[in-house]
């Protein structure tokens, strides 16, 4: 067995026991990258030299007996988190040459924990998309079927873990951008509670919805990553100063007597029958594990997508105003005067989907429309949050499919933005409500595509999610498969 095939916690043990070195793990991962990256295209930029230098440093530390939580673990970073001295593009032409002079808080935390960065993972431009096809640097392919998309927007991060090009990765989730690609790539992906993980240095898409989280090979790895990522950051005003438990203690704990809510509104038309079947199977698994499935209602579910596609573009239209060609990034070379520079820079620097959302958002915030759109959407958001508060009085966690369909083909939905937007119907509500969610592998379609099961919890109940997801993982007895690459 190659080192890149192991889970994070398995490698942790090997490091602790002195069986392997950080350099060996890094070398194994880069061998794998060399073998499969051409097919998958999970990365915008590889950091091979930096990785081996970091591995040597970590090995020296280990020799001195200093072993940290992620010592020697190769991690991929979505190219939306700022890395000091390393280009950070957000998948966009407009930032193709941007080199941040600072690290995102999560990047610093990972570094401090001994992680080795293997590269900057591909993503939909400014995280706007569900397929990683809007990336300026070309699409990423699903390791399970190279004709298919890996999901998005954190498609590169999900595919990198699935293709074993890293041991774990970092993504960001604004409407499902971690959970949806995790489901489509057959890996674990968690979106923590809004405010749980620092957003400082995360290039903003929709500030009130964005949240950073991990992709891992299993639930225990997710707990290990969350132990590193979670925590208060004084550099972020919306960061919440609440205690961070040791998430690992929730792994393998009993869930007997738990009530699992199944929202009736999530049984929607257009859902793939195999996905429907996998949810039924998951219910059976949980019941066998001693939990009880109960029906709950989230009555405002039908308005989630509409509210999201007003709030997210509105915030994005403002967040992306700074890309004006004045201080950094791309500037249209032939611009003659100020207005011309703005127009040409933004016209040439942004892709079609980003421009579409800037226009939607600008419209929604315009005088005379604000009340009808943005304000109304914010009110709907409050109702959605209350739906969850009510539902969590009836149950401990909520279980849903992570996506309505398995991975679709490249190009299949690029001409139909509305169809693309609907791939997030099961994940968007958690962002609007600010609650945590996790997507775990729930089996495969007959065609061999991964299916994801999503669990949602109340605010700051990431521990509960790890507990239930770990119980599901243990009791589902899913066949262990690896993508054929």
């Amino acid at each position: 067995m190659e080192l890149y095939e192991f889970t994070l916690h398995e490698l942790q043990d090997k490091i602790k026991k002195g069986e392997v070195t950080a350099t060996q793990i890094t070398a194994s991962v880069f061998d794998r990258i060399e073998a499969v990256e051409d097919k998958v295209h999970a990365f915008i930029r590889l950091m091979k030299d930096e990785a081996f230098a970091a591995a040597a440093k970590v090995d020296a530390e280990i020799k001195q007996g200093r072993i940290k939580p992620l010592s020697g673990i190769p991690v991929a970073l979505k190219d939306i988190v700022c890395t000091q001295g390393v280009p950070t593009t957000c998948g966009s032409h407009i930032l193709h040459n941007f080199v941040p002079p600072y690290n995102a808080t999560v990047v610093q935390k990972l570094l401090d924990a001994g992680a080795i960065f293997v590269g900057k993972a591909n993503m939909d431009e400014f995280a706007m998309g569900s397929s990683t096809e809007t990336s300026y640097f070309g699409p990423t392919r699903n390791p399970w079927d190279l004709e298919r998309i890996p999901g998005g927007s954190s498609g590169g991060s999900a595919a990198a873990v699935a293709a074993e090009e890293c041991i774990a990765s970092i993504g960001s989730d604004t409407g499902g951008s971690i959970r949806q690609p995790a489901a489509l790539c057959g890996v674990v992906g968690m979106k923590p509670t809004y405010g749980r993980v620092s957003r400082f240095g995360l290039i903003a898409f929709a500030s009130s919805l964005d949240q950073i989280g991990p992709f891992t090979k299993d639930v225990e790895d997710c707990a290990v990553m969350m132990n590193v990522l979670a925590g208060y950051d004084p550099r972020e005003s919306t960061s919440v100063n609440a205690d961070v438990p040791d998430y690992r203690q929730f792994v393998g704990r009993d869930i007997r007597g738990w009530r699992i809510g199944i929202p009736k509104e999530y049984v929607v038309e257009g859902i793939d029958p195999e996905i429907g079947a996998s949810l039924k199977n998951a219910m059976a698994v949980m019941q066998k594990a001693g939990a009880q499935c109960v029906n709950v209602s989230l009555p405002h579910t039908p308005y989630c997508v509409a509210a999201y596609y007003i709030i997210a573009p509105a915030e994005a239209s403002s967040n992306l105003a700074r890309y004006d060609g004045v201080r950094y990034g791309f500037r249209a070379p032939e611009a003659r005067e100020l207005l011309d520079m703005y127009k040409k820079t933004r016209m040439q620097g942004f892709g079609a989907e980003v421009k579409r959302r800037i226009m939607i958002g600008t419209y929604a915030l315009s005088a005379g429309y604000y009340d009808a759109y943005y304000k109304k959407a914010s009110q709907v958001r409050t109702l959605i949050r209350r739906d969850f508060e009510e539902a969590f009085k009836q149950c401990d966690v909520i279980m849903t499919p992570a996506t309505p369909t398995p991975a679709f083909k490249l190009g299949e939905k690029t001409d139909d933005p509305l169809q693309m937007y609907l791939s997030d119907i099961f994940t968007i509500s958690a962002n609007l409500a600010g609650i945590p969610g996790i997507s775990v592998p729930g089996g495969f379609t007959q065609g061999g595509l991964p299916i994801g099961i999503q669990f949602l919890g109340g605010p700051f109940e990431e521990g509960k999610l790890i507990q239930i997801a770990s119980a599901f993982e243990k009791n589902a007895h899913l066949e262990k498969r690896r993508p054929k690459l």
Binding site: T88, A204, S318, R322, R327
Partner: protein, 476 residues
């Protein structure tokens, strides 16, 4: 037809915090371009604002000092527009829920007191500055000022004349400086004012069309610009033309306002609550704590000076216009126990010296204890008021205490009766004709003898004593 002007003012005051409103950069004026910047105020990708608590505290001080109601919760909003001096493409300001509302300040014009309402006070960040190359078609951006904290103080349209507008501004300025939250420097832009003005025939209820005036960097220019603009609008109305709603720039050299036409497109700022900043919740305890920390405000101080020091209103007004001056006066008055004399010396001589050199009272070479000592010396008769005039000037120039100057120049007043009697006797002997005239009833000659004594003593003789002795000795 008689017309009435309706004026409302918007004042932007830079707060005197050490650091900027949302990052740790220095907020000081005048540094090398772009040296007071960081990823946060440069609007780099992924960075986030964190509110400087001092800004909130300072803004609360101003709100309470102008009788505003502080809202229990307020929030920051984004004002979206593109300009190279605005790195994020939006300014963080307050919109639907400002910090404070419904205040007022009292102004006095022609002896009449009037309340000018304050609609709102809100916090926001300043923008940077563009520098245009004079020789090449190039512009540069200096972002040192980006993120320097501002408060915007919006008045009700309660102001009816340019004089009232200037008075209102002076009162606001005075309060800001008293609170030590703004340096009030209009030339450097720490205190800026825009005006909205319209005219209507006396008695008409509806407002006329207003124009917005900008670019007035002194109290006097605000007044001049308003005077000009009111005349211009009245002329238009009287001649059947219409006032266009627009922004006009004051041109100081030309003494006129000019339309900004072309530059001013209808802006839609697309305000919305800033999702990067949480709503600010202010409880009563905090409001009370800030209230208790407020210093005595100008209007209260003025009244106290009149009441406690028995000063004329004019003196109280001059002395309290600057808090440091008021403190200086109080220090002198407390030490010498002669408030009116202290006021006279400060307003007459000390301020004249300072004004001549454009110096601030804080840099006055005369220490309050020295001025108090000098007033005591006059009171005790050690020196005369006339001598004091020279001594105080020397105190200012040399920065020495009065006793030193008196000793160095031998300026002590002659109060020795025997010595003066001797001097007078000599003078009387020298001028027998005048003595005869006086004794013959020509009392005017008395002044001549006083002059002679003063001349002989180089002005050092105690005038009271000279009078007494002369009268006695001339009487024979």
């Amino acid at each position: 037809m008689e017309f009435e002007a309706i004026i409302g003012l918007e004042v932007h005051a830079q707060l005197l915090t050490e650091t900027k409103i949302f990052c740790g950069c220095s907020a000081k004026f005048g540094a090398t371009p772009n040296s007071h910047t960081c990823p946060v105020c440069l609007g780099m990708p992924g960075v986030l604002p964190v509110l400087n608590k001092k800004v909130l505290e300072y803004a609360m001080k101003m709100a309470l000092a102008t009788n505003c109601v502080i809202n229990k919760t307020c929030e920051f909003a984004r004002k979206n527009y593109f300009y190279p001096d605005l790195p994020k493409g939006y300014q963080i300001s307050q919109y639907a829920h400002p910090l404070a509302e419904h205040g007022f300040v009292i102004v006095e014009t022609d002896g009449r007191r009037k309340k000018i309402g304050i609609t709102r006070i809100h916090m926001e960040e300043d923008a940077g500055k563009l520098l245009h190359d004079e020789h090449n078609p190039v512009s540069y951006v200096d972002l040192n000022r980006t993120g320097v904290p501002l408060i915007e103080i919006v008045s009700e349209p309660d102001i009816r004349s340019p004089e009232e507008a200037a008075e209102y501004l002076k009162r606001l300025h005075e309060i800001l400086v008293y609170l030590e939250i703004c340096d009030g420097n209009m030339e450097e832009g720490s205190f800026r004012c825009d005006a909205n003005v319209s005219v209507r025939p006396m008695g008409q209820k509806e407002y006329g069309t207003r124009t917005e005036l900008k670019n007035m960097n002194s109290f006097r220019n605000v007044q001049r610009a308003l005077e000009y603009e009111i005349k211009r609008q009245i002329y238009l109305v009287e001649n059947g033309q219409t006032v266009i709603q627009e922004t006009r720039l004051w041109d100081d050299a030309q003494g006129a306002t000019n339309s900004m036409r072309g530059k001013e497109e209808a802006h839609d700022y697309r305000y919305f609550p800033d999702p990067d900043l949480v709503p600010i919740v202010i409880d009563d305890a905090w409001i009370d704590a800030v209230k208790n920390s407020l210093p005595e405000l100008p209007i209260a101080k003025r009244e106290r000076f009149i009441r406690d020091y028995q000063l004329p209103a004019y003196d109280a007004g001059v002395l309290t216009a600057d808090k440091a001056l008021a403190d200086y006066f109080e220090d002198v008055a407390r030490r010498c126990q002669k408030p009116k004399a202290a006021s006279n010396w400060i307003m007459g001589d000390v301020l004249r010296f300072l004004n001549e050199e454009k110096r601030d009272i804080r840099a006055c070479p005369i220490q309050p204890e020295d001025l108090a000592e000098m007033i005591k010396l006059i009171d005790e008769g050690t020196i005369s008021g006339k001598m004091a005039k020279d001594i105080v000037e020397e105190m200012y120039r040399a920065g020495k205490p009065p006793q030193t100057i008196i000793r160095e120049k031998g300026l002590v007043q002659i109060t020795d009766e025997a010595e003066l009697t001797k001097t007078i006797a000599v003078i009387l002997e020298k001028h027998p004709d005048q003595v005869a005239e006086y004794r013959g009833g020509k009392e005017k000659v008395f002044g001549f003898f006083v002059g002679q004594v003063m001349k002989a003593t180089q002005g050092k003789a105690n005038p009271k004593l000279v009078n007494e002795l002369l009268k006695k000795m001339l009487a024979g």
